[in-house]
Symmetry: D2
């Protein structure tokens, strides 16, 4: 049994108590001999009892605690950092990490958490992914024992917020051309000076600890640095928020400007060099996105189905009776079911050491593309009413566009796959 | 020469002066023997000199006066009613109406104006369409001479704002089932009492004059009423705004609640009965949308092309050099060119009395669908940057979704076309 | 170990000998830590050793024995009945049936066989599916012990060819309206007289035993009859071939005309009534199609990839270097990988008694749709050369169109899914 | 009045007599105030009386003379050269050429002829296009007066069959890399020796006169040569047919093998050098294809509509009553209407000297793509019955695939357009 279940966390209590039934029966254990539109190909059949329990806990938290506040947060472009603390209390942060106060659950279980969060909002999921997969993941995979022990436990509790600085304003899809640089401090021994700008950095304005990738001047190689905000002298670190976003408005996004910011040498990841470091982290984050976006799609299906059953037009027939409506629902349910199976498969392979980055490119690309496409088609069921944000689906549509573009824009993943299939690269 | 050009309006001055070159060269008269990506199939070749001049005037106004304020208006969900006055001063309102202070231009010229406005924002165009095609159009087509003389000249100046109340909360695609009713005033002779609710009514919160369709209780037939706000006793007319929209945020949308609102019998359209009235108006408005949305699409093409040429990735190549990018641009330019030709053709037929409602269903459906689809594909060119509203394309995407749903949701038009093609109806 | 592996069949020898390596390495056991474009999401990881061995045997037979003759067979619209005998010798017919000389392998293993056959040609697979899933399946599921013992062993050997008569000329998607009827023989006791017509019946012109569904006159209920050709008096059974087909030309298709054909009462299935009988059989056949068409798609990917690597245009670059080409390959590989996983999942559920017909509708519809779509897109890679039938892909495209239409046309399955999702039917 | 109408041709008689009404009423002059599904946007309104008459003549010939023989011809992969003679008698060959026995009609009129032919079969149209646009067009545009006078009149009569040899086996989309070469005859003065191979050459096996493009050895520049079959010594010219095609089987396609074939120097086009020559001819042919394929699509619409009205499923409803069917018809009719308008527009521009090659790329690409796409979707309406070639639509589908690939494969035209839009080329 994983620590997520064994350690003394509210999760445990929730799991044993399970008092009142919630409206969402997603993870209920109904017999699958009947077709279940919420899980058309019975993917639950592939999950362990523990994974089902984790999923249910996460779903319950998200539906009960996150859903009620998302509409206003999205309108106001506001992110409440307390959310990470709440998630931390439930053991949802860095959940696949073993040790350092983390739950040590399976890769699939970790992604079931992202799915639960993204069923509410991709922005909330983004914030959690950055904390878990990118910031904590980087430290876990590449940090020294001291770095891990110092930062991971607090991050697992959501009391220390992380960010991950890779993308630069002029190098979105091509991080190898980054301009950020770390040079030896000319005066202070044991320090580097970091200079450079990162953009579209989730959590950056509220982050306590920023994992920043920069080229070490002496070698020209990319290295990872832990920039601890409270250690940065005034004027050396700025993390302005990017406002007026057209999507992911319930998460906070910003830039990172470093200007001769002194960073202790022991805050550099000891060994990893080049793009291997950030790409490993992105790989984990992308995996979480692949199952995560299925949550957003499933929520769109749920809401569109309900609307189609309740909304009557032409002689009192519900929209659900019209063939053009049924086809939209059938297509979306199919893509949700297929995408879920593919993500579970890759998760299992990942735990067996058999998942390759191209597999993750494939499921990240396809699941984001299909989630976006189907959410848009489902939105049509709402007709003009979708313009009201209270129907939620417009928010998912706007969010899912962003998921298609970040951590590898869809076309970039197409070319990664094309290269893997043909052995020939077509980037330039 | 039409009145738009002959009467003493700033338009005239603009036409003759044409001083400083603007950045947009859309309506410039370059020889078409070269391929012009802004007008790939040389649709300008089909326009008269007068139409070209009207188009250029409208484009200039929109680019110079509307574009600078749209971003903030959209953010704030604010519509400045002064815009209608500005448009009125230029003769852009009700422009296809002959007389009553209107310009009397061709149907195509009228649509070139909507295209110019929608190149900036579909919300601005919606507001203008409601004023011109729906409110003024209804009065012109079905009003008594007294009604026309009383209202049209002020509306043409943009000093009297109109709205058009057809859609009800429970009857989006099926207006024949409307519940709004007009009954004889039990006490006051010469008055009807109107009761009912309309929703998704552009301009309603700021409208002075609301064209409201309701069933006359005595006959059960749908009739049109001019509800003059200043004549409505307190508590009989409410027009609350619908806020937190996911699109068309630069226009104002609201509801109309009428509760025993007394309306003078001479404010009823004298003859038109049934859905013929509202459908005639919608037909004109839909026509304007068909060419209008091409403006929004063209703006997306323009912005995406510029971005693709300026943004460099992978060894300094502009995005424009990548095949996957070029295909997106080629597809969008093709749909814009085709949609423009189709709209011009139907406009010509309309002026010849040969356009049928099904033709307008066809071009409204197809042009909205393709504008929406291509704007989304073009958005991909911006990658994550599209999340910043300053790139404008996300706003077009959100707006175009709405155009696809209003004045006949796309699927409804499919079924109208299907019925016209097969002779069999498939609505129920 | 299943009988397919244990009994003394050439299969066994093949499995142990495995002499010369074939060009196709599909089922080779390379480590999956590298991305394998032939199995991008490592679906082999989900298969048992036995299933892998069965797959390899089937693939080998198909590539070595079927592939060399398909081109001419397709051109000549000729089906060689010897093929069924060959398949019978290898234990490939009715392979999921336990007993009666059949191999008793898993549902997934059975479908791996169909995939291997369909990698060569959907027509060959159709012929095998009819024999295995429809004819043998019907007898196995609904026949009396005597019927099973009499027919199944010979059918398993491919020496007795079966057909399945359900579809009628006027009732393609709506078999419940069938007109075929069985009435008591007015003179001969113990006999029914069957009258009716069936169309698009694979194998009918060469079938020895035809499973025919007809309404029993006395009850009006649909029942199944085993029409044994050699027992039919002259003039009571005609099975003319349908020629000049635009697809599936390597299989033979025909009609069944029965005119007062006397059939022994003990040749009626003893119990099953209504559409349950044929639908159960179709369900199994559809399952086989769902994985089968992935074989055809994978062959298209393989051939398109090879062509793209070998064909050079513009300064000697292989087509494989072009982004537009790479996207086609990436999309197709993704759909093949996803469809394969979904089919394996449903196969496992089927063996656990947890698969519902709607699940099979989902994977049959989606996999056929995607196989067809992608095969068409891949065909574009060949440019004009695809017009030569020697590139094979045009044949797959033509075949896959048919798979999309038979055993439930795609739209019909959409409505089955729509009904399952909404609880509302939209057929009429 | 053009010569097509004024000279003494059977066409004239047909035009005046117009005896029995045919079933097809395509070009009838019904008032367009009603929606006409055969011409949804009233494109006929844009045609002159003469063009309407030419269209009607061509349609009548094609429906009466070509349609009855196409099914068998396609099955047998047989092309009857008498067809060109029949077309010649009606003045349909090289119709846009002024003089030399040609009709001298407008560009649009010429394309209306191709549309009429392609309504029956794209193969028949291909054969005619090669004769008219490629072979006669090349001679007319680039030939000396002697060449024109010698060949054009006989070609216009269809008594001398032409072919056009540009594409080589290894250079499909990149003709600039051609390997065919013309060198000075080492012995015979006044002769070149031509060596090289061309493939996918429509009409080549039956052609009397082959326009062959080859590099002149002395300059390295591409030049055009008239290879007169009857002047070629045995063994220097071979034109084997390519058999077993998957499309365009009613036309004959072959290769051209030249081995030291002596060609008179006066048979070289006097001036044109480089790709300008062949590209000019292709431009004209492509234009004809753009409107031509609309004929094939319209035939698919017509046949699918009829089938949908006649075929009944589920309680006796015609397929035409189902929403999913109606959408297919609506989409196809829209694309046919839009494509027709675009082609007419470019035809008018061409006659005004304002059409650019990119415009023709746009309409060739889009109309072929949409014709192919919609024909496939319409094929779905026929369900399994489409497998019978007697429903005709499968033949159109197979043919239209080829039209998408020849004279510029769709993706190549995308890149031509992309280059025109961005100014950046993405071919390599």
């Amino acid at each position: 049994m994983s620590r997520l279940l064994s350690r003394r966390l509210p999760l445990r209590a929730l799991l044993h108590a399970r008092p009142a039934p919630t409206t969402r029966t997603y993870a209920s254990t109904s017999p699958v001999s009947q077709f279940n539109w919420e899980d058309p190909l019975a993917s639950k059949n592939l999950l362990t009892e523990e994974e089902l329990a984790i999923s249910e806990t996460a779903e319950r938290y998200c539906q009960e605690q996150l859903l009620p506040r998302v509409l206003q947060a999205y309108r106001d472009e506001h992110y409440d950092p307390k959310i990470l603390e709440e998630m931390g209390e439930l053991g949802l942060l860095g959940a696949t990490i073993d040790g350092y106060g983390c739950a040590g659950v399976s890769t699939v279980a970790g992604a079931l958490i992202t799915r639960a969060v993204e069923r509410v909002d991709s922005g909330y999921r983004s914030s959690m992914s950055v904390q878990s997969s990118l910031a904590m993941g980087a430290i876990h995979d590449f940090g020294s024992v001291e770095q891990k022990e110092k930062y991971l436990p607090e991050m697992a509790k959501g009391k220390l917020i992380g960010a991950f600085g890779l993308t630069e304003p002029n190098h979105g899809s091509d991080p190898g051309s980054m301009e950020a640089v770390a040079r030896e401090h000319p005066q202070k021994k044991g320090y580097y000076l970091l200079t450079g700008s990162k953009t579209w950095i989730t959590n950056s304005p509220i982050a306590d600890l920023l994992v920043v990738w920069a080229k070490l001047q002496t070698t020209g190689k990319i290295r990872g640095f832990l920039v601890d905000r409270k250690q940065c002298p005034a004027g050396t670190l700025e993390t302005p928020a990017i406002k007026n976003k057209t999507g992911l408005r319930a998460s906070i996004t910003g830039m990172i400007h470093l200007e001769d910011c002194p960073v202790l040498k022991e805050n550099m990841f000891p060994e990893v060099e080049g793009l291997k470091g950030p790409f490993t982290c992105l790989n984990s984050a992308r995996y979480g996105i692949a199952l995560g976006v299925m949550g957003a799609l499933e929520d769109c299906i749920d809401r569109a189905r309900t609307y189609a059953l309740e909304r009557k037009q032409f002689k009192g027939n519900p929209l659900a009776k019209y063939q053009l409506i049924q086809k939209k629902l059938a297509d979306a349910a199919t893509d949700a079911a297929y995408g879920t199976l593919a993500a579970i498969q890759v998760g299992r392979l990942k735990d067996q050491g058999k998942a390759t980055p191209e597999m993750i490119s494939m499921i990240k690309r396809q699941n984001c593309d299909r989630a976006l496409h189907n959410s848009r088609v489902l939105q049509e069921i709402f007709g003009g009413n979708a313009v009201s944000d209270e129907y939620m689906v417009g928010r998912h549509v706007a969010n899912l566009y962003v998921t298609q573009t970040y951590e590898g824009q869809s076309d970039i993943h197409s070319l990664i796959l094309g290269r893997a299939i043909t052995g020939v690269q077509a980037f330039v």
